[in-house]
Amino acid sequence: MLRRRLAPYLLVLPGGLWLLLFFVVPMVTMLSLSLQEGDVVTGYVFTGHWQTYADAIVNYRTQLVRSLAYGAVTTLILIVLAFPVAYWIAFYAGRRKATYLFLLLLPFFVSFVLRTISWRQILTDDGMVLGPLKHLGLLSSSAHVLGTPAAVIGGLVYNFLPFMVLPIYVALERIDPRVVEAARDLYADPATAFRKVIFPLALPGVFAGVLMTFVPASSDYVNSAVLGSSSTTMIGQVIQSQYLTSSNYPTASALSFTLMAVLLIGVFAYARALGTEDVMKVAAR
């Protein structure tokens, strides 16, 4: 009897401990390090130096705001792009639903970094897209895409599209067709049925998608590094170079924690309001 009661704890212990040691503890360490002063050589002392935060935020406010703006624009574009795809697969694809979802995920068998580099190859000044257009005189020979915000946002949209399609698809899939039929029986035209019935029922999926794309998009640094320029630097690049190049750990920690705090307020507000089930379900598809 004792063993039965202990069973769940024994099962959870190894994995739970791993998450505690390598997810929760590092976050606390990072918070603590952001309030310490010193350097790599002489060591760090905890001083409760909140000024690091103020300085970091003031110094890097452009990149911080830019990252959140890019993340927000990416997310909005994703909703518009992904909704029709999810809608078609959920309501029209019939028995081939799984095939279409598989096709959408197919490119993700290629390394994230490699795919982004491939975009650079496509969009380069004389590449397969701009080259012919310039040749035909449709674009001036000085036109370029790489290095612009459009290139970075395009890369982000590309890389995170499935994370918007999947949750919306899951929400639409759950809609009982009889509900839509009932709307039609009550003389709602297709547009009204969509606006008053389908879309509200799909909203939880949209919210889950927003969470799953806004957070990674605004903290990404691969797209802005590969497709962008110095005028599109995102906060991720700053954090990365502060950690790995300048070894300026307190500032880097403060920036990471600021980013985490901004995003986590959203994440936990989401968890409270809508529950964690949708996101976890989609994440594990």
Partner: protein, 283 residues
């Protein structure tokens, strides 16, 4: 990120007869074409990658098309560092798959089967681990390893990968456990099987498909991960890190070839798994 599908698990909803036929057809056609357009757009960079693996380029500079060749497939392991990076990636992914598979299955099974104190907190931590920015997870692990004075390398990469993979495995396994018909286990117990035998002979085979897709997902997440790896690798190089490092000097065609081979292997495994897990038709 690569994801694993479990197709064929849902029934198609009954056809909706009341929807106006004509508007449905034209609307459906437009959406169908649009969906294929999106699929084509998603696949374009992959095609470029595959294509340039066949490019008869003189050396490292692989940007313009010089003609068709198969030589890079013969010389795919010619660059020692790149090969070593790929081997590191595969080993880390294998270790991640096994460890995250075991630990995640434990959590998923417990969450699906038992009610216990702390399960709410555990769920919240898992949710946070799934939805936290990778950048912050990588950075915070780096601060931990730095303050502990731990040397970075394959071990710290694996620790990190297991950390972010556990939750995905657990969620998949929990979902499966929740759908299990407990009367089968009760029947086994009635026939005199002890709990241990019941678990290994009855329950485990039933949750095995979920454990399998969880482990495949963990493998895929690990082999593709760049951000967390970048922070926890030190001087060790994995496949994505090597690619990243050589972006400025130009990517050799071997990278395209390896990318293509990994892509094909992933697709084959996923297709094989989906065929195997497809429920057999009854009657």
């Amino acid at each position: 990120m690569t994801q694993v599908l479990e197709p064929g698990t849902r029934e198609t909803p009954p056809a909706r007869a009341t929807v106006t036929r004509r508007s449905r057809l034209t609307g459906g056609r437009v959406l169908h074409a649009y969906t294929w357009l999106v699929v084509a757009w998603l696949t374009l960079p992959v095609l470029i990658m595959v294509l340039f693996g066949f490019n008869d380029t003189p050396g490292r500079y692989n940007q313009t098309w010089e003609g068709f060749t198969l030589k890079w497939y013969g010389r795919v392991f010619e660059l020692d560092e790149l090969t070593r990076a790929l081997v590191t990636s595969l080993l880390v992914a294998l270790a991640t798959m096994l460890l995250a598979g075991a630990l995640g299955t434990g959590i998923g099974y417990a969450l699906g089967r038992y009610r216990f104190r702390g399960s709410g907190a555990l769920n919240l931590v898992m949710f946070a681990a799934i939805s936290s920015p990778e950048l912050v997870m990588g950075a915070s692990l780096l601060t931990l390893f730095v303050s502990l004075g731990v040397g970075l390398g394959a071990v710290t990469i694996t620790i990190a990968h297991v950390m972010f993979s556990i939750s995905f495995v657990a969620v998949l396994v929990r979902a499966r456990v929740l759908t299990l018909d407990r009367s089968i286990e009760e029947a086994a117990a009635d026939l005199g099987a002890n709990p241990w035998t019941t678990f290994w002979r009855i329950t485990f085979p039933m949750i095995l498909p979920a454990v399998g897709s969880g482990m495949m997902l963990a493998f895929a997440l690990s082999i593709d991960d760049f951000v967390v790896t970048n922070f926890t690798a030190g001087t060790t190089t994995t496949f994505p890190l090597w690619i990243w490092g050589s972006t400025r000097v130009g990517l050799p065609p071997q990278v395209n070839v390896m990318g293509t081979l990994i892509f094909l292997a992933g697709v084959l495994i996923a297709v094989a798994a989906s065929i195997r897990s497809r429920p057999r038709r009854r009657g």
